[in-house]
Amino acid sequence: MATLKVPAHVPPPSEDAEQLHKAFQGWGTNESLIISILAHRNAPQRNLIRQTYAEAYGEDLLIALDKELSSDFERSVLLWTLDPAERDAYLANEATKKFTSSNWVLMEIACTRSSVELFKVRQAYHARYKRSIEEDVAYHTTGDFRKLLVPLVSAFRYEGQEVNLTLAKSEAKILHEKISNKAYNDDEIIRILSTRSKAQLNATLNHYNNTFGNAINKNLKVDPKDEFLKLLRATIKCLTCPEKYFENVLRLAINKLGTDEWALTRVVTTRAEVDMQRIKEEYHRRNSVPLDRAISGDTSGDYEKMLLALIGHGDA
């Protein structure tokens, strides 16, 4: 469930655009006004505002925001304002670049979005970067990481709930066999994780747990320093229980010495309209502290205000 709060009566996009334009004028910027509008509009509404703003003032709203804002607050507003597919395309592209490279972000996008959403990301990627997401991911990764990530971003999984229990049994067995032989990058593991529907995977992994006594991720914890195993475990988590995965990312981002703002911003802006409510509940359950409080304790200023607004703190 989303945590985004939208007011009962939403002003027309022209009014929102006008208010935003006002917020940019004069000395300094009216950040609170920006938050009060943008942090309380859903994706279709934000798209309309962008369109209206461009027609009225001849400039892309994002460019105006870029000029006026800075640092983590700017990043959170820019990412938030983008349409979800464009946002994911932006994050994916960033994740392939040298200094910002992150296999995690690629895997996260590939595995936690629905099949339809992931395809929209691929379309947005074409439009913005004039290349396919898979060609960039393939080019910028090597070895086992490429072997796992390219199929993951190219998947168009069946989204039905049908499950074949016989298949679940046999594939659980295959997974167990490969893992026992330490063949973590085996073609069969990649095949199962990157092509099966999420419902089928769930059935397979439940069967794994029932039959072999351990959840698969426990068996994959063999070497805590192995980056590929870490990614594999995270992949499985994303595919089967994304809220737990995101709670984990948030916890690590907040507990870090300093804060991993990029991870925090990414999770909040990409999940606020999706399942942030469940992530909040999971966070509270796991950390005995509500997420609002944890974020407040670790961030400040307009950045803090933006994040809190997106996770549903305060009114619409």
Partner: protein, 333 residues
């Protein structure tokens, strides 16, 4: 005396004329039952109107359809009946395929290639590489609806060996379709491919990660740029080098960058006398699936490759409604 001789002479001549006519009919019947599809009209007008004696002659003279049974009658060869059945149904299959939505068509063709026929990877290659990115996406959507599976999960489970990686990646691709190409990248990738082909005897190029990356993710314009640079890098045309290399590599490259030549070759193989059942199916598949796309260009390429118009080849080798349907598809304007 002379009158009776004359009479016998006339009778003999009449019989000879009848014999000639019978011979011609026999030839017509044989033709109606060989080649692709069945000439239904001829069968009706000749066999349909035949008397028992004529039919006996037909059975006795058609030794490839009928065998002499030990109990003194001419018996249909069962194998021949099965083959004939396929020919009778060729028109129906073509029509059903033609009426189908292109997405459903491609989804069904891939599913059939995976489950009914062993080692029929060519069809999967063909669909994955010759369709546009949006057409391939459509096929993937239709596949979900028809089979409750994703196309990639079925390809992955049914294809084994080196081909699996290639085919799964090919059906999963959503290539960029704009003209923008990085010449530098194309140049360095031409070198990578040339190196992989050169080492072909030690390691199969389709097992090379970089070859797979390039063939399965790069846009078609980019691939064409690579082919252009290949000649500069290795001295030879990529087609010549690939000829000797892996068959699948060759077909992939051809489908991606020279589909009209690929389709011409496939269709020509289908029309040959020694074509097997699966090879023959390609004729329907290519004409029906390309009729709304690039059949005109395929016809031109066919003519330039083989010196004969494709329509004529089809006219000569196909029969009846099946032939009429194909020609109708090919001569729309």
């Amino acid at each position: 005396m002379r009158e009776s001789q004359h009479h016998i002479f006339l009778l003999a001549a009449k019989h000879k004329k009848e014999d000639m006519a019978h011979l011609q009919e026999l030839e017509a019947l044989t033709k109606a039952l060989s080649g692709l599809g069945i000439d239904e009209k001829s069968l009706i007008s000749i066999l349909g109107k035949s008397d028992p004696a004529r039919r006996t002659t037909f059975r006795q003279r058609s030794t490839h359809f009928f065998i002499e049974d030990e109990r003194s009658f001419e018996r249909w060869d069962d194998h021949r009946i099965n083959l004939l059945r396929l020919e009778f149904v060729r028109f129906e299959n073509a029509l059903v395929l033609w009426a189908m939505h292109p997405w459903e068509r491609d989804a069904r063709l891939v599913h059939e290639a995976l489950t009914l026929v062993p080692q029929s990877y060519r069809v999967i290659l063909e669909i994955a590489c010759t369709r546009s990115s949006e057409e391939l996406l459509g096929a993937r959507k239709a596949y979900h609806s028809l089979y409750d599976h994703s196309i990639e999960e079925d390809v992955a489970i049914h294809v084994t060996g080196s081909e699996r990686k290639l085919l799964v990646a090919l059906v999963s691709a959503y290539r960029y379709e704009g003209p923008k190409v990085s010449e530098d990248a194309a140049k360095s990738e031409a070198k990578l491919i040339a190196k992989a082909i050169k080492n072909g005897d030690k390691k199969n190029p389709i097992d090379d990660d970089e070859v797979i990356r390039i063939l399965t993710t790069r846009s078609k314009p980019h691939l064409k740029a690579i082919y252009k640079h290949y000649k500069e890098v290795s001295g030879k045309n990529i087609n010549e080098d690939i000829e000797a290399a892996d068959f699948i590599l060759k077909e992939t490259a051809e489908c991606l960058c020279n589909p009209h030549a690929y389709f011409s070759k496939v269709v020509d193989e289908a029309i040959r006398n020694d074509a097997d059942h699966n090879t023959k199916k390609a004729l329907t598949r290519v004409i029906v699936t390309r009729a709304d796309v690039d059949l005109k260009e395929i016809k031109e390429e066919y003519n330039s490759l083989y010196g004969v118009p494709l329509t004529q080849k089809i006219d000569d080798n196909a029969n009846g409604n099946y032939k009429d349907l194909l020609l109708a598809l090919m001569t729309r304007d």
